[in-house]
Amino acid sequence: MEFLIYSLAWGMALALMASGLSFYYAVSKVANFAHGEYVSVGVIAYLFLVGLEYGLDKCRGFNIVNYAMLTLDKLWIIAAVFIIGGLVAAASFVVVFWPLMRRGASPLQLMVVSIGLMFILRFILYVVASTFDWLTLPSPQATTFNVAGVRVNLAEVLAMILAVIATVSIALFTTKTLLGISMRAVADNPDLAEASGISSFRVQLVAWFIGGGLAAVGGVLMFILTGPPGERPIVEIGWMNLLSIFAAATLGGLGSFYGTLAGSIILGLAYNQVAAWLLDIGLDPQLALAVPFSVTLFVLLFMPQGLAGVDWHGLLARVQKKVGLRGGGGVGGSL
């Protein structure tokens, strides 16, 4: 049961990061490889803010792990991390991507330039992390609760709550508010949206801000849940998770939020189950990364639209017909 909750929380943390990616992908159509660095920015910013609170001198090296324990009174740090991640993403949009998009750069060029951005961000993170000697750290603890005999820690709770809140509020935001509706307009047809008076720059800026912030928060939770990425330095946590993020976003159908949430949960359960099983039979659990990768290749090969592209209503109707029920319209969930 605890393992199930852990896998679920893992998937939800992944969902936070992946929905950040698919949020601005939907508007700007940039496959941003620097997204992983926003995740790492979140982790380093969290450690830095914790250091600020307790005195940076005391937090050099391994000591930070004791202070960085996630408790309820550190929630403001999580909020600050959201803002920092968002600012970094927004800045990278303003400085790098927007000028190139205005010049009519091809998607290929935007993708390549995101790699350059990734390297620069990674260098800055390495400078910060090695100045404070934070390159290799174990994962910090988190407050644990006992809910009906099951031990749950705060990171797991936060991951689940935040992922659901983020998905629902993004969905409401894009359908109910004026800014969200104009965002969808820009996503569908930027020229037409510009012609009808929507500032496509402002809309995209907001999307990048929210996307980067979600990535940073997801990164902090992922760091507390799983610890450092394999034997790699902590700065590469974003990079090591980047491909899982892309896998979740692709499985969900890039640009769909409920789809991304569902895809991440599926991947989280599958990945952790396979990892545990591999550990049981005496193999390296890292091999479980084959699961998200092969899922992505499968999705690209057979249903490039992801879960969002599946005709759920039709599928449900067919199943109901087979079972012999009279299906009512509008029963299926619209993903």
Binding site: A31, V96, P99, L100, A105, P107, L108, Q109, M111, V112, V113, I115, G116, L117, M118, F119, I120, L121, R122, F123, Y126, V127, S130, T131, D133, W239, L243, F246, A247, T250, L283, D284, Q286, L287, L289, A290, P292, F293, T296, L297, F298, L300, L301, P304
Partner: protein, 388 residues
Amino acid sequence: MDLSSLLEFILQYLAVAGVYSLLAISMNVEYGWAGIPNFGKAAFMAVGGAVAAVIATQIGPMLFLGIEGAVPGTLEFFGRYNGEILPAYSQNPLATWGVFILSAIVGGAIAALLGVLFTYPAVRLREDYLAIALLMSAQLIWIVLRTVKPIMGGTMSLILPSPDFKCIAAAIVGGTPPKILVEAIRTGFIWLLVLGYLLYVEKLMGSPFGRKLRIVRDDEVAAEAYGKNVVRARLEAMVVGSFLAGVAGAVYALIHLRSVNPDNYLPDITFMVLTMVLVGGVGNNIGSVVGGMVIALVDRLGYMIGTTLAMSYGVSWGGYLNYLVYGVAIILAIFFRPQGLIPEKPVKTPAWKVYVELTGRRPSFIQPIWTRIKRGVGRVRSRAQESA
């Protein structure tokens, strides 16, 4: 620094630049000519390295030395490999060349096969998906090499028998050759390979195949309208590029590093090769070689600056300066010079030779500039006379 150590430094630099050029040319076939963002280049190099490791430890001893091979990752491996097999290789220079040639051919073939396999799922989709799929495949190969011990022996570096250049040098001067001559022959061999790559790719890209790749890259719809099979063209480009990368991977493992370690094949190297192509010239093979030489120099300088920083100022992040340099280079290249230092040139196709033979004059677009100016001036003048 005296003369001989300076010469040795230059030779070593040229050797690194040559290996990087091989990689850059293979990337140029995919990225520059076919527009495929191959973010999985490291995987195809790793295939070359893995094949080299397997052949050197397990197949080579049986085939070339007549003794039983040793499987990496087993208990008695290091004793047998270091005590028996490596000395046997050093006694038998021909066997080391056998290992190199066999692993280049087999590595190239397997890499070409994997190139098709990895590209196929996403070849019909947008470039983003293709890049993601290739990157994931590369990461998967890396994890498999790390965890499956019998290939490379896990994460410890495995020394490989490098092809023996000493015996060639000895054949030239007799006796024990000076170290500098051995280095020179090694560097010369690498650049011979670069020359071979250049000739092959130039020839290929001037052929109808190369023109097909360019039309597919520039306008997919137009390519289909001309009856070109876009999917097939991309897969063929991947076959050529991956084969070249597989051979280059064998060179990288056996001649450049002389050892294998799965961690040599991180995505960083893919993006380093991509930077070479972007800086040198997208779609220009000479440009790729120039890019390889520039990045090799930058690599060297970055390493020197990093160690100096660490030694004299106690700064621990000097080793990561390369990230900054690559990142800035990529962004500047895309912003200000997307065609690279040496831009792509129009293909010299036989079609215009036929045109010259039939009409006796060159087509307008390759006529020298002064003829075109003269013609333009004449046209303006005659028009002025008409109106007057």
